[in-house]
Each structure stands twice: as structure tokens, then as C-alpha cells.
């Protein structure tokens, strides 16, 4: 029997506010342990939470970007469990009435097919602290409460995901959108974005749901895919050998690439949710919602469509450019300042500028090269002042290092293209003397061999002139000189 998987993801995303969700302690990663804490996030008796307005705005922004319906009235709730990194012994979250529901995003698979993944709900909650377990014989665990109270949104998908690859693509798409709109830093290693996966299997084509397991805390895109691949395979084996999948929570062991039982249904948590009496319900009125809507930038998919439509670049290039909002902005500004075809701009940014920036360990947002300079560089190529090769190999790296305008670099380094016919002829003659084999091939060969020889000789002249020779002229001049000599 063939099986198919049914997967739903719960993604926790930290919001990039200055301060925590219910108190004015700083929300920052990497501060010395237990320095960003106060009576509220330490859970001291008598302290009261007050909701951070910005956290609500970021949460709503995210929900709008994920096509959700915003509930104008939502309620906070207490979720009770015991753990040392949860000082109040309950987490403030939303339960029955979350602030957002019924959204969706679209993922695009490598073969180009698109699939809509529905989002069931998004709710706001506070993060817990961090526990470090002593190694070996150390009988202690160590608790840092800096993270306690960090604002989170939990994004719960419908079980619309059918393969581990789709799960990874969904998570990546979520990350791209949240980073794009500026509410999350997208840093999975630091735990800014964390994922739990629910997965079950069923006979292919069946519409019944099998017993599901939950895989906790998978914190890289690669691991999401690997953990699910392993877990689906495991469930299929259980069923094929006549067994039954047990409803349980499992942990992914990234070192061994397997999932293992963490707790079974019998030990399942009993969270005893109830409405949080310390916080009034949250009301998002028209005016507030409209102002948040107005702050939402154009989203990656929309920008991609526009780039393809207005600038005539390929879907592939557009995809790369909208990975990063700063990159998309950079491209657009360069393209606007350039009189030629925008796809040349996309090409030089993607295949040369990004690499050169990477060499210097710089992000596009830190680029010393201005978009205008990229446009100017391409204009210099179009005016045949420099060759494209010089632009790519010599000038771009120098622009990244110095931040200077392309023309200044061309002049400083003497990179102006050689378009003087007699000068080029002299160089060609010299090259011919050193490449008798190619000359012979030209003289004695058929058309195809002749072409090949010319191509080779162009390469040699380019080498000789460090890429400065005008390639168009070379195409005419080399055969000419060969005939003359």
C-alpha cells in the first residue's frame, strides 16, 4: 500500500520589539544572564502585566501579511505548566479567542508548481526563559530569565502540507515574509523562529486522518525536512509491520537524524487554560487596523510579479532579488537609473556584486556600492568605455572595497577599453606571433575551425590586455589581420 503524509506546522516567531511583551525590560539576544529582568517577568507576586502596543502592531502586521482575518476582540489566557524557566508557572497566551485566523501563504516548489497552505490561527504569547543543563555529574540546571516575556506569535497551519519538502518551503516562506516586513530577524540558530511539526500518515487518497505525532523544536530548515522524512518513514514501518502509531510527542535528535519519544498521550500535559484576569481583552478598532495596514510594505510575491512585469527580468532572477528587501530595493533603484535593459542590472547584481560583497563578508544592506554606481557602470560598458569583462572582474570588486564611483576607478586603474584600431592591430600581431598553432588552424581549417581559432585568439588578446580590448572590434580585426599577414 502507498502512504501519504499529512503535516501541520506550529511556528513560533519572536517579535523585534525594543522591550518585552508585558514589561519594559529590554528584548535583546545575548545580554549577560538575568540582567533584563524585573518583577513582572520574574513572576513576583503583586506585579501586573501591561501589553506592549508595538508587539500588537507587529503581530497584526504579520497576520495581515499572512492574509489572516484580524479578530477585533481577542482574549489572553493562562496556560499552566511547571518548568523552572517559567517563573509564574503559567504562560500568558491566547486560547479560545486569538487575534488572527484563517490566513494562507503560497509556496512554490522547485518544479514551479504553486500550492496554497492555509493558516488556521495566529496568537500572541510570551516566551519562556532559557534552561541550561549542567553537564555530566553536575547535579544542577541553570536558568536565565532574560528571554522570559519576549513577545511571540505562534502561527498554526492547517494540515495542508503533504511532504517534508513542502514543510521546509512553507517555513522558509514564512521566514522570508516576517523578515521582509521587519517583525522578525529570521535567525533560526538564535531561536528567533522555532518550529513544531504535527505529522500523520494515511493510505494514499484516503480522506481520514491517521494518529499524529508531534515533533518538537526543530530549529533549521534542513532539520525540518530531515526530521519529517525520518518520522514519516518510521510511521509507515510501524503500520506495515501491523502495529499502530501511538499519539505522542517526539524530539528530533539532529546528530543521529532520528526522532525519539519525549512523552506519550498518557503523560500529556493538562494545561488548565483560563482567561487571564490581569489583562483586559484586546480591542483592535478600525482606526488602529487601518494605520497598521498602511505601514505594511509591498510583499515579496507582489514585488516579484512587478519586477517580472515592469522590468522584464526572469522569474528565477526575481526570486533571488526578493529574498531580501534591501536587495530588491537596491535592484529597483539601480534599474531606474539605468537607460538599458533592466535584466542586465539583475544579472550583474546577482552574478557579480553579491559574490564580491560576500568576499568582503558584507550584506547588501551594508554595501559600500550605491545602486546608482551599478547603473553608471553598465552605462560605461554600453558606451564601450570599458568591456563587460573589466566591469565584472576588475571594477565591481574595487567598488566594493573602496565605494568609489566606477568612472573614478576606470581612470585610476587605466582600464579604459582599447578601441583604437591601430593599437589593437599591433597587439593582435604580437599575439599571432605567439600562437602559431591557432594561426595555422585558421589558415588551413574549414569555417568551423576558423571560427574556433578566432575565438581562441580573442581570448588571448583579452588576456594580453587584461580584458581591456574592445571585443566587438576584435571580432572584425582579428580575421582582417590574419588575412593581411
Amino acid at each position: 500500500m502507498e502512504f501519504e503524509a499529512v503535516i501541520g506546522l506550529e511556528v513560533h516567531a519572536q517579535l523585534l520589539t525594543e522591550t518585552k511583551i508585558f514589561c519594559s525590560c529590554k528584548n535583546e539576544f545575548g545580554a549577560p544572564p538575568n540582567t533584563n529582568v524585573c518583577p513582572v517577568c520574574l513572576g513576583m507576586p503583586g506585579s501586573l502585566p501591561v501589553l506592549n502596543k508595538k508587539a500588537v502592531e507587529y503581530a497584526v502586521k504579520a497576520a495581515l501579511a499572512l492574509n489572516c482575518k484580524i479578530n477585533r476582540y481577542s482574549v489572553f489566557a493562562r496556560k499552566h505548566y511547571f518548568y523552572p524557566d517559567l517563573p509564574k508557572a503559567y504562560q500568558i497566551t491566547q486560547y479560545e479567542l486569538p487575534f488572527a485566523e484563517n490566513g494562507w501563504i503560497e509556496i512554490e516548489k522547485p518544479d514551479g508548481t504553486k500550492k496554497k497552505i492555509r493558516i488556521k490561527r495566529i496568537h500572541m504569547e510570551e516566551d519562556a526563559g532559557k534552561t541550561i543543563h549542567g553537564e555530566g555529574l553536575d547535579p544542577n540546571s541553570y536558568v536565565d530569565l532574560n528571554r522570559a516575556g519576549t513577545p511571540l506569535i505562534e502561527i498554526v497551519s492547517e494540515p495542508d502540507i503533504s511532504t517534508p519538502e513542502e514543510a521546509r518551503l512553507y517555513m522558509q516562506k514564512l521566514r522570508d515574509i516576517l523578515v521582509w516586513i521587519g517583525v522578525n530577524d529570521g535567525n533560526l540558530e538564535e531561536g528567533s523562529l522555532r518550529c513544531d511539526a504535527n505529522v500523520s500518515i494515511r493510505p494514499k487518497g484516503s480522506d481520514k486522518l491517521g494518529t499524529r505525532t508531534e515533533i518538537k523544536n526543530v530549529n533549521s530548515f534542513r532539520f525540518i525536512q530531515k526530521a519529517l522524512e525520518y518520522e514519516i518513514e518510521r510511521q509507515i514501518k510501524v503500520v506495515r509491520s501491523g502495529g499502530e502509531v501511538v499519539q505522542e510527542t517526539r524530539l528530533f535528535d539532529s546528530q543521529r537524524g532520528i526522532t525519539k519519544t519525549m512523552r506519550t498521550k498518557e503523560e500529556a500535559e493538562d494545561y488548565r487554560y483560563f482567561p487571564e484576569p490581569d489583562l483586559p481583552p484586546l480591542i483592535i478598532d478600525d482606526e488602529w487596523l487601518e494605520s497598521i495596514k498602511a505601514s505594511l510594505p509591498e510583499l515579496p510575491d507582489q514585488v516579484k510579479e512587478r519586477f517580472i512585469r515592469d522590468y522584464g527580468i526572469t522569474s528565477y532572477d526575481a526570486d533571488i532579488l526578493v529574498r531580501d528587501r534591501a536587495l530588491a530595493r537596491f535592484f529597483e533603484e539601480a534599474a531606474k537609473n539605468y537607460s538599458g535593459e533592466a535584466k542586465k542590472v539583475a544579472n550583474i547584481i546577482i552574478s557579480d556584486l553579491l559574490g564580491a560583497l560576500n568576499e568582503e563578508k558584507l550584506e547588501i544592506s551594508e554595501s559600500p556600492v550605491e545602486p546608482l554606481h551599478v547603473a553608471q557602470l553598465l552605462e560605461l560598458v554600453d558606451k564601450e568605455v570599458i568591456s563587460l569583462r573589466v566591469a565584472k572582474e576588475e571594477i565591481i570588486p574595487e567598488m566594493v572595497k573602496s565605494g568609489k564611483e566606477p568612472r573614478a576607478i576606470v581612470e585610476e586603474k587605466g582600464l579604459v577599453q582599447i578601441s583604437d584600431e591601430s593599437a589593437l592591430k599591433e597587439i593582435i600581431k604580437k599575439v599571432l606571433e605567439n600562437n602559431e598553432k591557432a594561426v595555422k588552424q585558421y589558415r588551413e581549417g574549414n569555417d568551423k575551425q576558423k571560427q574556433k581559432a578566432v575565438k581562441f585568439l580573442i581570448g588571448q588578446v583579452m588576456k594580453e590586455t587584461r580584458g581591456k580590448a574592445n571585443p566587438k572590434l576584435l571580432n572584425q580585426l582579428i580575421p582582417q589581420v590574419l588575412e593581411e599577414v
Binding site: 519594559s24 529582568v37 501589553l51 502596543k53 482574549v75 534552561t131 541550561i132 543543563h133 493538562d270 481583552p281
Partner: protein, 96 residues
């Protein structure tokens, strides 16, 4: 409404309380009495009335996203049974 012994034990476990057998019986009676008392509320006819989560009229209470003063480590750790001046120390809890 009489709570079973198992329910009392479950509630004790959720609260991380260790109860002796005679305590289980004692709380079985006491908790059941509390439930009976609260059960009285169910006698009210609430047909057609929306659930209310607060008694005050609904209005937002929000703070601006501006950082304030956090506690000094000295104060933070003042009531902690054990610390190493950086972390709260607790008996080892292996991630469940």
C-alpha cells in the same frame, strides 16, 4: 459532585504536591465541597448572555515600547534559594 481519589492525585501531580494517603481523602472531601459550592452558580439561568472575561467595560490598556529599568542582579537573586551570581540554580531537570 464527588471527586475521585484519582482526580485528587492528578490535581496534586499538576501542582507538584506530594500527598499522603490520608491527605488524599481529606482533600477529596474538601475539594468536593468547594465544587459543590461553585456548582450553585449553575443554577442561574444564563441563556442568551455572552460570556464576560472582565467586569470593567472593555478598553485597551497598553504601554509604549520604551525600555525602562530592570533589576540589579543583587535584587533579582535576593529570594533565590541558590544562584551562582549569574544564573538561578535548580536541581537538574532533564528536558521532558
Amino acid at each position: 459532585m464527588k471527586l475521585s481519589k484519582e482526580e485528587v492525585k492528578h490535581i496534586a501531580m499538576l501542582s507538584r504536591l506530594e500527598l499522603k494517603e490520608e491527605e488524599v481523602e481529606k482533600f477529596q472531601t474538601q475539594l468536593s465541597e468547594i465544587l459543590d459550592f461553585v456548582e450553585k452558580l449553575n443554577e442561574l439561568d444564563t441563556e442568551g448572555i455572552d460570556p464576560k472575561f472582565q467586569i470593567i467595560p472593555p478598553q485597551n490598556v497598553l504601554r509604549e515600547d520604551v525600555s525602562g529599568v530592570s533589576l540589579s542582579r543583587e535584587k533579582t537573586f535576593m529570594n533565590a534559594p541558590e544562584t551562582d551570581e549569574e544564573y538561578f540554580i535548580v536541581p537538574k531537570v532533564v528536558k521532558k
